[in-house]
Symmetry: C2
Subunit: 223 residues, 2 copies
């Protein structure tokens, strides 16, 4: 069985991505990251999802990204803005986040001798984060093969982004087809203590739009 | 004053690299990493060196690389081998280490609005680690500019590797010219409790060779 490391945040996209990796018969290793994000509740969701999909192993690692801040997600003194379509890169952008996340996925993949890494990014309905674009992923894949012993020895890593060209609605429809329970996923950047989504942050905005366009009821519990 | 983030391990190369950045009039931000390495003593050296060079700020961050292991440096059950010249990639190779280290340097640089990152790697006298080669650095630099808000907005990051084409002896001679006190630096992968270097690991081997070839007395306290 081929092994894959899947970045699982507990959100809609990464859960769909895990369901896709499972449907492609990968032995799945889920990696979740506690990075001082506001929305740590997503990690509880990630645990439940990893268990649901019977991944071979689920690691939750802690990274000190709050040390650097520079984002409304890791510096809790910066307010989370309302979602606006096509407004440039919002303050929820976290400097170098996907380079960091993928580099840890790469480290684990190399140790496991897994050649596939999955990340649930999209370049259609997304928050304009530069590290979600196909040219970023292509370059990271090239880097992965230059940086590692496995790469030098002639094997190669593949960074799989099955959602890259899908709208949020198309992602949801693909997930539904694969039996994903979106009620288990958390998208909101600032979930309340009683687990209600704010309904207005970037992530809620994109999620709502996706369910609406897909014509599927959104199971999220909004404020 | 231009700002730079410098990866400072406490070893010979990164200390020389810091001295070079200082000599080029950068305002220096030193980043050191506690990554479950055997040779944590290098972090004490890094502190002393950062203080000596009056860096603007010194951060020591903790990364859970021992979670993955796969290296004699992060999995303490794997023995550190003796240095042998030209023997392929040794087990002291740490999967994805320089991708991870540079990605955190990049995150900090973006938050600081610093466009320069320094890393003291060489592709002449080195342990054959793939992530020390110029093609790796060129690709990381390209990635840095694709991954970040600053990159998208038209500024660009530079990954400075002033030692890339220098032998260990040439690095030492450059450091001596700049007044580096190599007695403050720690290279050994397995320093003893009373701060004596083993004298036979990759890192000691390269260091000894460098001082010998440079015709400079090695200030290291060997076992």
């Amino acid at each position: 069985m081929k092994k894959a490391v899947i970045l699982v945040s507990g959100g809609l996209d990464s859960t769909t991505c895990l369901a896709i990796a499972k449907s492609q018969d990968f032995e799945c290793y889920a990696l979740s990251i506690n990075y001082d994000q506001r929305h740590k509740a997503e990690l509880e969701a990630a645990k439940a999802i990893a268990t649901h999909y019977s991944v071979k192993e689920h690691k939750i690692i802690t990274l000190p990204m709050g040390e650097f801040g520079g984002s409304a997600l890791t510096d809790h003194s910066i307010e989370v803005p309302r979602y606006k379509e096509k407004e440039g890169i919002p303050v929820t952008y976290v400097p170098a986040r996907n380079v960091i996340f993928l580099s840890f996925a790469l480290a684990w993949a190399e140790v496991l001798n897994a050649q596939d890494i999955f990340i649930g990014i999209s370049s259609v309905d997304y928050s304009q984060y530069p590290d979600c674009r196909p040219e970023f992923i292509e370059t990271f894949e090239k880097l992965a093969n230059l940086a590692t012993k496995i790469g030098v020895e002639g094997q190669s890593f593949k960074i799989n982004t099955p959602l890259s060209n899908l709208s949020k609605a198309a992602t949801i429809l693909e997930g539904i087809r694969l039996g994903v329970d979106y009620g288990k996923t958390v998208s909101c950047y600032q979930l309340s203590a009683d687990h209600k989504a704010c309904g207005y942050c970037d992530s809620c905005g994109l999620r709502k739009k996706g369910f609406l366009e897909a014509g599927i009821p959104d199971p999220t519990n909004y404020v």
